[in-house]
């Protein structure tokens, strides 16, 4: 089952070669064996999973199965799932059993996808290494001393180690793409507004976007068909007709214009990552694509702009954790203010506190124009760079990250250095564009290299097409780490 795609699993189920219960039990066994090493899951609940599997098997017996009914997936622990512990990687929510389902969870349930468990993540999705999780770091299946990336590091590691055939993730500044790159899997961050944020615990609301993580572009397309869709409960959900994200997968790439941003191939890009990207470009040229140099001059400011906007929105969103309605409350306090202050001091980890404080400051009286407003103006300039580039090309291609996965602990003490590891992914969120990462080789250290594709608004099907065609002529996405 190790190399099994969603499509193959669905065939196994449809032909009666396996039941959903059997598939789920296989994956649960693998999770039980590997999770003590990788720490990719925060919560596993075999009884609940198997009950969902049996329900899917009954649907199939009644002839009411859809394309993926019975195929299990894992969910990032940022998605509220009724009856499941939903921690968001934080002590603040370590005891929070969600009383309702996120829209994404509703969609997955309606499609009959049993949940294999809730995956580990950076606390409140704030981090690029999974080291800020209250539940301990996730380890990279390709190198146990390396980080899996973050914040969707648990989902990425789980898929890479085939503890789940696919998983959900969320991406605010690269949190699907960067861990996908570090773990050698395929992940898609859709156009902002495509996947509902309802029940997805908020970090930075104008940037947060859920998306699929799987072993291949085809599987991401199948999962997008389940996850995407209008939801009136998310005020920024876009009302658009439903799409079939698999519709363009087989389209040839002849004549495709690939834009190469010169800023993404400049200083700071490690030589081994650059080599893998160059080799992938040669492959795309063989498939009939042309390349053109483009420029994203303002993208160099995307990290500073992001570290104003995201913390500002986070400081507002995380004000709700007050020890009154749900989550952690400090055991001892003198009065209401003291209760708030101790609850938040004890319930939040360091990185979350840093970002709340940055956000509080940039929004405070007298500083708003210099920081928040300036960042919003630069955000427009960053988006305009992409609009200009898409006049010249169909998709933009570059590395997902400047290096392969770094060592656990390497950047933990230096927040700024950690932030800069997302230099190629953040601008995409600021502009609200779709982007994806797919494996394209290995670095000098034997760790996976991720290739990033960025498209214009609503071009997910095209990105998936480009990635799928590449995956038809390469086998990087089928490589499997040996986890001992």
């Amino acid at each position: 089952m190790n190399h099994t795609s969603l499509k193959q699993l669905s065939h196994l189920l449809a032909s009666g070669q396996a039941s959903s219960r059997e598939l789920c039990q296989d994956y649960l066994d693998r999770i039980a064996r590997l999770n003590p090493v990788l720490n990719a899951f925060i919560t596993v609940d075999p009884e609940r999973t198997l009950a969902e599997a049996e329900a899917a098997d009954r649907l199939r017996a009644e002839g009411r199965a859809g394309a993926l009914t019975g195929v299990p997936i894992a969910h990032k622990d940022i998605f509220c799932a009724e009856g499941w512990l939903t921690t968001c990687g934080s002590k603040m929510l370590a005891n929070f059993v969600a009383p309702y389902d996120a829209h994404v969870i509703e969609r997955c349930k309606a499609a009959g996808l049993p949940c294999l468990g809730k995956t580990n993540m950076d606390e409140f999705a704030m981090g690029s290494s999974n080291e800020t999780s209250y539940f301990g770091p996730v380890r990279n299946p390709w190198a146990l001393q390396a980080v899996p990336g973050g914040s969707s590091g648990g989902s990425a590691a789980a898929v890479a180690a085939r503890m789940a055939p696919a998983a959900t993730g969320t991406d605010t500044g690269g949190s699907i793409r960067q861990p996908a790159a570090f773990c050698g899997i395929t992940g898609l961050k859709p156009t902002y507004g495509t996947v509902s944020r309802y029940g997805m615990i908020a970090f930075a609301s104008s940037l947060d976007q859920g998306g699929p993580m799987a072993t291949s572009a085809e599987d991401c397309a199948l999962l997008m068909n389940v996850m995407a869709g209008f939801d009136a409960r998310d005020s920024t959900s876009l009302e658009r007709p439903a799409e079939d994200y698999t519709r363009d997968l087989t389209r040839p790439l002849i004549g495709l214009r690939i834009g190469l941003p010169r800023e993404y191939f400049a200083e700071g890009l490690s030589a081994d990552v650059a080599r893998a990207i160059e080799a992938a470009l040669a492959e795309f040229r063989r498939l009939g694509a042309q390349t053109v140099e483009v420029s994203l001059p303002m993208s160099r400011l995307s990290v500073p702009v992001y570290y104003v906007l995201a913390p500002a929105e986070a400081s507002s969103n995380l004000a709700r954790y007050d020890g009154v309605r749900y989550g952690y409350r400090a055991p001892e306090y003198t009065d209401l203010t003291d209760m708030y202050e101790r609850t938040r001091a004890e319930g939040f980890g360091d990185e979350v506190k840093r970002r709340i404080m940055i956000g509080t400051y940039v929004l405070s009286h007298g500083y708003y124009d210099a920081y928040y407003l300036q960042a919003q103006k630069l955000r427009r300039l960053i988006a305009q760079d992409f609009a200009a580039a898409f006049q010249q090309c169909d998709v933009i291609l570059g590395p997902t990250t400047p290096t392969t996965a770094f060592e656990l602990g390497a950047k933990r003490a230096d927040p700024v250095e950690m932030y800069l590891s997302d230099i190629y992914t953040i601008a995409v969120n600021l502009a609200g564009l779709p982007g994806m990462s797919l494996p394209c080789g290995f670095g000098a250290d034997g760790r996976p290299v991720g290739l990033q594709l960025i498209g214009d608004y609503f071009s997910e099907a095209r990105l998936l097409n480009v990635a799928h065609q590449y995956q038809q002529v390469t086998d990087w996405h089928t490589r499997l780490p040996e986890v001992k």
């Binding site: 005891n95 929070f96 059993v97 009383p99 309702y100 902002y192 507004g193 104008s206 940037l207 009136a232 005020s235 920024t236 876009l238 990290v303 500073p304 702009v305 570290y307 400081s315 020890g323 009154v324 309605r325 749900y326 989550g327 409350r329 306090y333 009065d335 209401l336 203010t337 003291d338 209760m339 708030y340 202050e341 938040r344 001091a345 939040f348 506190k353 840093r354 709340i356 404080m357 940055i358 509080t360 400051y361 405070s364 920081y371 300036q374 960042a375 919003q376 103006k377 630069l378 955000r379 427009r380 300039l381 988006a383 927040p415 700024v416 932030y419 502009a431 609200g432 564009l433 608004y457």
Partner: protein, 95 residues
């Protein structure tokens, strides 16, 4: 720009996060490094540029003013730290 210890204590209080002296010193140095990165923004002249609040131009949808939710007070209060008779309990605020 450089944040003082006093600034850090004020920000922490605004954010309702209790910090001790050691933490204040640590946050001071870390936040100053982060703001050093953020200051790069000031080098760009953005006069006349419209701020971008959102990726897409969307407008707030309106709905009919009717009740759409069912009462799930018990389920929601089941996850609260302290409740009594359907009320959330907090420390006394009025003597």
């Amino acid at each position: 720009m450089s944040l003082t210890l006093e600034d850090i204590r004020r920000i922490a209080h605004l954010a309702r996060i209790r910090i001790d002296a050691d933490e204040a010193a640590r946050y001071q140095s870390q936040l100053n490094e982060i703001f050093h990165l953020i200051e790069q923004m000031q080098a760009v002249d953005t006069a006349g540029i419209e701020p971008m609040a959102h990726a897409r131009d969307v407008y707030q949808r309106l709905r009919e003013d009717v009740v759409t939710e069912t009462n799930r007070r018990e389920a929601f209060q089941a996850v609260a730290p302290q409740v009594e008779d359907g009320l959330y309990l907090v420390p006394k605020v009025i003597e």
